[in-house]
Symmetry: C2
Subunit: 386 residues, 2 copies
């Protein structure tokens, strides 16, 4: 298996970008990533991650739309979808295509447009990530599913709502220094306490926003990186996915993200690393409860103690395991199909030492974890240079 | 790169399967393929190809739905989409995952349900394969786009509608011996001449049906095939994709499937083979005109002469280059996201010598070509043992 490395990253700002189309957002992200890598020639293949274009923009076949738009006519192109984990799975597909020797240079682009539609349509589209036949059909929204998990967590472990506040404070604080972030605003424990309730106990500051955005990454064989780009290559040390039940009612244990556990364990084994080696963790904080459960599943806290890391300041930039260093899904934004690529791009910037005011000092190993549905698909990547 | 082989294939019947859900169809196809391979343990990963579940069944995240349903909880799962070429691209993703060494055993499952929805919804979903912003928005249907290509072809090369009849006669004739085919009925030149017009010059016998179905394939490293399965492995000799413009109005030449040309040339180069080596060609006859253009693009006929092969009987089971040997998209059926897997499965059955009454005598090398949109994404696989 050939070793694979990242040589370019690019992002657009995240927001309600009503004057931008799917292809123009994707084009900007890809152009940024190509410029960052210093590449002029088209890659061999484009992998696009997206979840909602068919439902909200009447467009399937999106990878070829984008390939055509950016002037790479002729190259391979395919779209990868695993709900909110689409980005991580597309990245994995690119890594394996290069590792196999079938292609050399791959571009991965995550893109999503969610804000042009009536809210009802967007919520319906989001709900397709759950079990259509056994969950969504009853009318439960995606926030509702996560609210049930959070309620059970609070009940089971005796954790209060207030214990989740530091996740919002951390994400929004970090977002303030990210020019691409949607919410560059300070959030305090007090504003968290007074945030309007969306699906009790999940309030507005517990949940990631509906938004638009695109992010891209350029990958190549590690052995070719020096010839292709002036950037120091960031190696892909592990790429591992796992699944759980699609419906949360079928779970072995509602409060255990088994797929996240399996995915991170496989990733640690591939990279021959353990939680203590991880300097930065871009986790999937679509909801505060998921941030807590992810920290537990990845081995940073015991079950029921994810919030302790937040309360202790361990998740801050100077803490033991910094998370959401550029704002995460809550502060930076969560354009569904693009999120996994934003996470990976943020890890790359940290490992390059190029995260500006949000730089985690001495970061050499970073982990990005992308979660689809309510923990149903989880894909974990470990990047770094050793 | 590890060599990859097919050790199991499975299909459901194709039809208007109103009493079956996406997951139950996929489950049947996967069970058939696993039984065919003789495998009991779950594979390492499931790759699902589908285009319309989000729009017609309110379900994204389909690969995890299916993984959960068939009892493979925990394994990797992802959905691959490239409109009608989804099947071929999912197969390619599986081949590369195995070739890279990341996984050993992969299941690929194509599934589509198109007949439960109001026709307007299904046509709208089909149109998402074209350019939403510059083609579909004007109201042109997918059949309409292909009708424009066929009209231009007839005009440019002086070919009559009647010259396309043998494609329908061949496909339906072959479908009669395929228990899974939707249309097991004889079609004559006369019935073709009197078939109702859908989008002039495309008539009902020129176009593949709206239908439901699922097909599956089990893959593993060639070196492990003998240990895993009693079936003689069928090797993947080439896997190559290419793209063209998404909108047909942007084409270099409306009558040249450039992506099909590039894809087949890359495939021939990978396999070190030429058109004369191909014993069976499962082409993408969603419309008769596409069958003609594919034969030209793949090097079996000069431009403008694709219909000659049909008129001469060269495409029949005993001819020079048998196509649609189990009925093709027109006779067997075209459940969009599943079609590429049906094509590959039919090639495998031919190469095993297990195609029954439709066996192509002495077939050792087979090619399957899966086309997305009006020639916008093309993926070609060559299978066989040498």
């Amino acid at each position: 298996m050939r070793q694979v490395a990242v040589i370019g990253v690019g992002q657009t700002e995240i927001g309600e970008l009503w004057d931008r189309s799917l292809r123009s957002l994707a084009g900007d992200a890809l152009q940024n990533a190509m410029q960052d890598a210093g590449l002029e020639n088209a890659p061999d293949a484009l992998f696009v991650s997206n979840m909602m274009a068919s439902m909200l923009s009447n467009q399937t076949h999106l990878a070829t739309v984008i390939t055509d738009y950016v002037g790479w006519r002729g190259i391979e192109a395919t779209t990868v979808e695993a709900a909110c984990a689409s980005g991580g799975m597309a990245f994995q597909a690119a890594v394996r295509a290069i590792a196999s020797g079938a292609i050399d240079v791959a571009a991965v682009c995550g893109v999503e447009k969610m804000t042009d539609s009536l809210p009802n349509l967007t919520f319906k589209a989001l709900a397709t990530a759950a079990d259509a036949d056994y969950e969504s059909v009853h009318g439960v929204t995606f926030v509702g599913l996560n609210a049930m998990i959070m309620r059970r967590y609070m009940h089971e472990y005796g954790v209060t709502r207030e214990a989740f506040a530091p996740f919002a404070v951390n994400s929004h604080g970090n977002a303030m220094n990210n020019p691409n972030a949607m919410f560059k605003m300070k959030v305090s424990e007090q504003s968290y306490a007074h945030a309007p309730m969306i699906a009790d106990p999940i309030n507005r500051l517990d949940s990631a926003p509906i938004c638009d955005g695109a992010a891209a990454i350029i990958l190549c064989p590690l052995e070719m990186a020096a010839d292709l780009s002036a950037n120091a290559p960031i190696q892909v040390l592990a790429s591992a996915a796992a699944t759980d039940t699609i419906a949360i009612g079928d779970r072995r244990d509602l409060l255990s993200l088994d797929a996240a556990k399996a995915s991170t364990q496989r990733a640690y084994a591939q990279a021959k690393l353990s939680p203590s080696d991880i300097d930065v963790f871009e986790l999937h904080d679509a909801f505060s409860i998921i941030a807590a459960l992810s920290l537990e599943a990845a081995g940073f806290a015991a079950d029921g103690h994810g919030c302790d890391l937040a309360l202790n300041g361990d998740i801050t930039l100077g803490g033991r395991i910094p998370v959401s260093t550029m704002g995460g899904l809550k502060g930076r934004g969560h354009p569904i199909g693009a999120t996994g690529i934003y996470e990976l791009g943020d890890v790359v910037m940290q490992l390059r030492g190029a995260a500006g005011k949000n730089q985690v000092s001495g970061a050499t190993i970073g982990m990005a974890q992308n979660i689809g549905g309510a923990g149903s698909t989880v894909v974990t990547h470990i990047l770094g240079n050793r």
